[in-house]
């Protein structure tokens, strides 16, 4: 698989390590009343779709940026690549 890095261009996926579902960006509010339940779901439960999957890849052998890669888990086709930084900011993180 070739991951089209937003800054560096096409890179072999062997340069990256894989973390998992991009929902891991959405860390729950630890002060919420049901924080324990929210953290359980956040940490342990996954949608695990067959098809489009947004996931976190770390460019460990490159510029050490975190990417959100949208990839089809049935065909391995990569549909979109974004900087995780941009995704997190768009969701109101790190204002």
């Amino acid at each position: 698989m070739i991951i089209n890095h937003p800054i560096l261009g096409p890179r072999d996926f062997q340069e990256f390590t894989y973390l998992g579902d991009a929902s891991l960006i959405d860390r729950p509010d630890w002060q919420a009343d049901n924080a324990a339940d929210q953290f359980h779901d956040y940490l342990y439960l996954r949608d695990n779709p067959a098809g489009e999957h947004r996931e976190l890849w770390f460019h460990e052998q490159g510029d050490r940026s975190w990417l959100v890669v949208t990839r089809n888990t049935v065909t391995h086709e990569i549909l979109n690549v974004e900087l995780a930084r941009d995704v997190a900011r768009a969701r109101g993180r790190s204002k």
Binding site: F13, R46, D47, N48, P49, H76
Partner: protein
């Protein structure tokens, strides 16, 4: 369908026209006591033990493709009982004991071969860990023997003992471990279940569950609605896809694991060996091909095929351990989809929906678990209480903090 030496000779002389299907091909009835989703090893074993141990024979196994076409036909055929933790080892020991009597039990040749598994160690720390694991195995009724370098050399003189980075310091030998003809396991269980009245319905995919007032009443399928008092999902690899239809999210990711087989060779390797310093293990099939396995491809996948980097990684591991492999040609590789759970251990449990049961999360250890998985799942379905060796395999164990994490990796499925 029964087999005998006489029948083989007779059929050979008469053009093989007398063989009949080994199991029936029935249309689904309107309803059953138990509907098992998934005609793999675990589903068929569950049906077999429901009929045999609990006398529940009004059972259907529904399978979207053909039986035994999933992971029971895609593994590296190894059976073993060499786990460390209390939640696991009694279960896998039961499984190995069932393997030992399986062929006599279902009267089918599954080629169970207890040729021994040797886990090599390369450092002092690994030797300590192997000793601890061996003690845990013995405490649970399994067998383990710690070998030093000379002990390993006597068994496998062709290994690379003096590698500069990973010298072989010894190994943990599990003599009762071995290999099994994997497809025959599915066929043997299928025939045994079919003979006891279980309907095996192939080419029948579940498209939804009928759930009313918190009770599961049956499944919608491509062959229509099938009612059931109890619905038992048993589709490891696709668990998230099936249970999503019942509105459940699972502590599981699906990952691809590749395996490889070489051209046929004369007998060179009479047991199973695992490399302790890299992701590589190897045995030799009865046809002569060397069967290799390695690590996951690391990313979520439902593709049943992998990528070349893991092929390279596994072959490098093989070359590091057995330099003589350099002249062997690889013949085939394939990939299977694993239910990778959040702690590396499986589930055999009721769900929060009345009448809906779940079996899955087997990671890459599902094949060896087949008999005990069926045994314990049948026990749960028949009695509504978990079997005593499967009490830890609960879906809510993460909420309760009772993970069974053999490798201590935490909630990162691709590292288990």
């Amino acid at each position: 369908m029964r087999y005998s030496g006489l029948k083989v000779i007779k059929e050979a002389l008469t053009g093989h026209k007398g063989w009949r299907p080994t199991w029936r091909d029935p249309e689904p009835k309107k309803s059953y006591d138990v509907v098992i989703i998934g005609g793999g090893g675990h589903g068929l074993a569950t049906a077999y033990y429901l009929a045999k141990n609990h006398n529940i024979t009004n059972v259907a196994v529904i399978e979207k493709g053909w039986i035994g076409g999933g992971n029971v036909g895609r593994n590296t055929t190894i059976i073993r009982s060499n786990y460390l933790l209390d939640g696991n080892e009694p279960f896998y020991e039961l499984s190995l004991k069932l393997w030992e009597g399986l062929e006599q039990d279902f009267n089918y040749n599954a080629m169970v071969s207890q040729r021994g598994i040797l886990n090599l160690v390369h450092t002092d720390a690994q030797r300590d860990a192997a000793r601890r694991r061996g003690n845990a195995m013995i405490l649970n009724g399994s067998d383990a023997e710690l070998l030093d370098t000379d002990g390993v050399r006597a068994m496998y003189p062709f290994l690379n003992f003096n590698d500069a980075r990973f010298p072989i310091k010894g190994g943990l030998l599990h003599r009762r471990g071995g290999t099994v003809r994997h497809d025959a396991v599915a066929w043997g269980y299928a025939r045994g279940a079919d003979l006891r009245g279980v309907d095996i319905i192939q080419n029948c995919e579940v498209t939804g569950f009928k759930i009313e007032n918190g009770k599961c009443l049956g499944v919608e399928t491509t062959k229509g609605f099938i009612g059931a008092n109890k619905v038992a999902s048993c589709v490891a690899g696709s668990s998230s896809r099936v249970m999503e239809k019942a509105g459940m999210r699972l502590p599981i990711e699906s990952h691809v694991l590749q395996a490889f087989v070489s051209e046929g060779l004369k007998p060179v390797l009479d047991g199973v060996i695992t490399f302790g310093a890299g992701h590589f293990y190897c045995s030799q099939s009865d046809k002569g091909g060397l069967v290799f396995g390695g690590d996951l491809d690391m990313y979520n996948s439902y593709a049943q095929r992998g990528n070349l980097p893991v092929v390279e990684d596994v072959m490098e591991g093989g070359m590091a351990l057995i330099p003589a492999l350099g002249r062997v040609r690889m013949l085939r590789s394939w990939g299977g989809i694993m239910d990778m759970s959040m702690d590396g251990s499986p589930f055999i449990d009721k769900t929060h929906i009345d009448g809906l049961y779940f079996n899955g999360g087997w990671c890459y250890g599902g094949f060896k678990a087949t008999p005990a998985s069926g045994w314990c799942y049948a026990h749960l379905l028949a009695t509504d209480t978990p079997h005593k060796v499967a009490t830890a395999y609960r879906l809510d164990r993460f909420r309760r903090g009772c993970m069974i994490d053999e490798k201590g990796q935490g909630a990162q499925p691709n590292l288990h």
